[in-house]
């Protein structure tokens, strides 16, 4: 059983991408303010990045390299698509 920290940050990334999809890394970090109860950890954003990478591994989010840096896209929403 984990501390729940990672799960919260996963929910944080999902909440952000439901608001703006796709979003750049910079946008994701800036939008954390909208979900303070979910987006926890150091202000520098490493925890949210790790959560995003976890979602990529699960196939829920796709990450693409673009001229705006990495673009994160929610391609399957476990909440609405079951």
């Amino acid at each position: 059983m984990s501390s729940g920290f990672e799960e919260k940050n996963i929910d944080c990334v999902l909440a952000i991408l439901r608001k703006k999809n796709p979003a750049s890394t910079k946008e994701i970090l800036a939008l954390r303010d909208l979900f303070p109860e979910l987006c926890s950890g150091c202000a520098s954003g490493g925890d949210v990045i790790l959560a995003g990478k976890k979602l990529v591994e699960k196939g829920i989010v796709e990450r693409k390299w673009t001229s705006s840096g990495f673009l994160w896209e929610l391609v399957y929403d476990p909440e609405t698509e079951g």
């Binding site: 750049s24 890394t25 970090l29 520098s44 954003g45 705006s68």
Partner: protein, 421 residues
């Protein structure tokens, strides 16, 4: 003469392909890699000893050898930093723990003040901030310039006869700048203030002589100096250690706990043991001893010179790139072997750089730290906003890095910048 490619062979982590790619490790300011000599020593403890050491705890054969090797490691650390006496060396988990011990164990009164700087790691600032808050002491901050340097006259203004403690980072983990510690210590001592230096980023990379510096307390993170993770050292002048209170108490720190007439009367051991409560990380201590042996066999001057050569190539190469902003000084002089930077871009994050380097290169994974490196006050002071996810990327070097790796990194950074236009 040191044959550096043979040194590199002592670090098998670098021999592996990680998911098919060659590793380039540029995150030694966070955690150094470990030479085989260190983990073989740790393995020796677990394979052949696995027993209690410590102040007279277990006197059987395995316990005796454990105590002996752990105390030998303490002697080696004393030699490594040129302490007068091994009793001045206290084992901790890391520099952070050392700073917390120091902040909470030195007597201070309400009318005294604590001086620190805007360039401190949170570990060098918060323990003292909290102590000052608890006691009601004034907490003073000397501001570093935008390039991470100090003006000695600022210390002269902030330190006065009521200053009890000056807490100062010797080499910054963000800007790499090296503070004029000797001069600051002289200013502090003129006012009878104690100086506590954070040596986490200095001691692994250059000769540290605590006697010559005349520093009162110095803390080290040995996991940044080829040692095992979770091992640190607090050095303190013996007289000061004797008068300091303990932050942790319990087993191993006492001579006796008398129970008389319904009252407890503890009699504590002298330093260093009065600071080392409970069963210790004996394997870690021995690993630190092996790490110190390893570095001293190379020679700390050699380590320093090698890193300066690597840094020269890295810094010059980065200065040629227009799309990045280097955080801190761009000079080579008085600088540790690390460079923090961020892309000059409104849309790209510092995290994009570290992810690109780790994930997107065809043949390599370059590992660096992205963030604010636990020095948020300095970030705010130079106009960066950690609260909005702004930060920098840090490339930090050590003895196993090569000129070829720096070449690969500079090429990758150029490609990155070209992509983002």
């Amino acid at each position: 003469m040191v044959v550096w490619h043979r040194i590199r062979k002592d670090f098998p982590v670098l021999d592996q392909l990680y998911e098919g790619k060659i590793l380039i490790y540029f995150d030694s300011a966070c955690m150094s890699l470990k030479p085989k000599q260190v983990w073989e020593t740790i393995e020796y403890y677990y394979r052949y000893l696995s027993a209690c050491g410590g102040a007279g705890r277990s006197t059987h054969s395995l316990g005796t050898e454990t105590s002996l090797l752990a105390e030998e490691a303490r002697d080696k650390v004393a030699k490594f930093i040129n302490a007068k006496d091994s009793r001045e060396i206290i084992w901790t988990r890391n520099a952070t723990e050392g700073l917390n011990i120091a902040a909470n164990s030195i007597s201070i009164t309400k009318n005294q003040n604590i001086v620190t700087t805007s360039l401190e790691h949170h570990s060098g600032m918060l323990p003292f901030y909290e102590r000052a808050k608890k006691v009601g002491s004034e907490f003073r901050i000397v501001n570093a310039s935008k390039d991470g340097r100090f003006d000695l006259s600022d210390f002269e203004k902030k330190i006065d006869d009521n200053t009890r403690i000056v807490s100062l980072v010797h080499a910054s983990n963000v800007t790499g700048t090296i503070a004029p510690l000797k001069e600051i210590i002289e200013i502090a001592h003129e006012h009878n203030a104690l100086v506590i230096s954070d040596e986490a980023q200095y001691a692994p990379h250059a000769p540290l002589d605590v006697k010559k510096l005349d520093v009162d307390i110095a803390v080290l993170s040995m996991h940044k100096a080829c040692g095992p993770s979770g091992m640190g050292v607090l050095y303190g002048k013996y007289d000061l250690l004797e008068e300091m209170d303990m932050f942790f108490v319990g087993g191993d720190v006492i001579e006796d706990v008398v129970y008389k007439d319904g009252k407890i009367i503890p009699k504590y051991l002298p330093p260093p043991h009065k600071f080392e409560a409970g069963l210790q990380n004996y394997a870690g201590m021995m690993g630190v001893g092996a790490a110190v042996d390893y570095l001293m066999n190379i020679g700390m001057e050699e380590v320093h010179n090698r890193e300066q050569s690597l840094l020269r190539k890295l810094l010059r190469g980065m200065l040629d790139l227009e799309g990045i902003e280097i955080i801190g000084s761009t000079e080579l002089k008085n600088r540790a072997a690390l460079v923090s930077f961020r892309p000059k871009s409104d849309v790209v994050s510092h995290n994009d750089v570290s992810m690109y380097m780790n994930d997107m290169l065809p043949q390599h994974r370059i590992m660096m730290r992205a963030g604010n490196h636990c020095v948020h006050p300095f970030a705010y002071s130079i106009g960066m906003n950690p609260g909005k996810g702004e930060g920098s990327v840090r490339a930090s070097l050590y003895i196993y890095n090569t000129f070829d790796e720096i070449e690969v990194f500079l090429g990758a950074l150029e490609d990155f910048l070209r992509t983002i236009g």
